[in-house]
Subunit: 160 residues, 2 copies
DNA sequence: CTATCTATTCAGTATAGACAGAAATGGATG
DNA sequence: CATCCATTTCTGTCTATACTGAATAGATAG
C-alpha cells in the first residue's frame, strides 16, 4: 500500500518493523533483519525522523543509536496528515491563489476557467479548515465523532 | 502535488486540462496542448476513465472521441476516495486480518506484536466505517458538517 | 474493396529514484 | 593525539515505470 501513497518500500518496511517491535532497534539490527544496506537504513531513518513518527532513543550501556516508532496509530495518522498538509496542500493552495489572482487580472483566462479554480480553492479551504478543527479535538471527542454512525444525519439535520 | 500521491505527471496534467477547459477535448488536442505523445494520451485517458472522473463524450459532426472531466470537486473527491479505499485499503485490511489470525494461532509472534496489529486494524476499521457513513450523507448535510467549526466540540460533548 | 482517418497496442528508450558499497566524517576513549 | 566504532555522505549501478514512435487494428465513406 505504501508505494501507492508515495512512500518508498524501504522506509515503509523499517517503519513497520519499528512499529511492531517491542523494543528500540539499532541501525545494524534493522539492516540485518530486512537485508538492506546500512546506508539505506541510515537515510530511511532520517526520513522517518523528518516525519516525526520515529524517534532516536538511547539504550543504557550501548553507545549506538536506537530507534523506536510512535505506537499510537491515531496520533501517527494525525502527525502524518499535518505534515503532508504543510508540505503538499499548503503550497498547492498558495499556487491556486496565485493562479486566481492572475486570472482575475484578466491575463487571457476566460471566466469559466477562473470559476473552476475558485471552486477548487474553496474545496481545499473548507476541507483544511474543517480538518484543523477536528485535529484539535481531544481523543475522546474524536472517538465520539467516529462512533456517531447513523446518528450523524439526525444531529446535523437538527442542531447544525 | 500529484506525484507525491502516486499519480503520474501526464495523467495529472491531462485531468487538470480537462477540468479547467470549458468544452470536451479530443486526444489530438490534448497531445498538442501538452506536447506529449498521442499514445501516452490514449493510455492516460484510459486510466482517468478507470477512476471514473473523466468520461468519453461525442461531439456532433465529429467522429473523434472527446473527453471531459467531472466538474464537481466534492463529487470527484468522493469518487477517488471510494476507488482508493477499494484498491488499497480493503486489501490492506484483509492482509491485516490474515496476519492477526496467524498471530493468534501462535506462530511465533509475541503478544506485543499481535496487540500492535490489532490496534492498526481497529484504526482502519473505525476510519472506514465512519467514512462510509459520511460518504452517503447528502451534500447539504456534508456542508453543515464542514461548517460546524467550534460548535463541533459542544455538539459532541452534549449529544454524542 | 480500398482509401483514409482515428484509436490502441507494442517494443524499445529514457529517466527518476532506490539502493549498495566505499570513502569520509564525527566523536568518544585510552 | 591516535585509535576505534558508529554514522553519514557520496558516487555509481540497477530497476521500475513513464514515455515515444511505429506498427496494428478498427471504422466509415467513397
Amino acid at each position: 500500500m505504501g508505494t501507492r501513497w508515495g512512500i518508498n518500500r524501504t522506509v515503509a518496511q523499517i517503519h513497520a518493523l519499528l512499529f511492531i517491535f517491542p523494543r528500540p532497534l539499532n541501525a545494524e539490527e534493522i539492516a540485518e533483519t530486512l537485508s538492506i544496506a546500512r546506508s539505506n537504513v541510515s537515510n530511511s531513518l532520517r526520513e522517518l525522523q523528518g516525519w516525526h513518527i520515529v524517534k532516536l532513543v538511547h539504550v543504557m550501556g550501548d553507545k549506538r543509536d536506537h530507534f523506536e516508532s510512535l505506537k499510537d496509530v491515531w496520533e501517527m495518522f494525525r502527525i502524518v496528515l499535518d505534515e503532508r498538509k504543510q508540505r503538499e496542500i499548503d503550497p498547492t493552495v498558495a499556487m491556486l491563489e496565485e493562479c486566481i489572482r492572475e486570472a482575475a487580472a484578466g491575463k487571457g483566462t476566460d471566466n469559466y476557467t477562473e470559476e473552476r479554480l475558485r471552486e477548487l480553492h474553496s474545496f481545499f479551504d473548507k476541507t483544511t479548515t474543517w480538518y484543523a478543527q477536528v485535529a484539535k479535538l481531544p481523543a475522546s471527542a474524536l472517538m465520539k465523532l467516529m462512533n456517531l454512525g447513523d446518528k450523524m444525519l439526525k444531529l446535523l439535520g437538527a442542531g447544525g
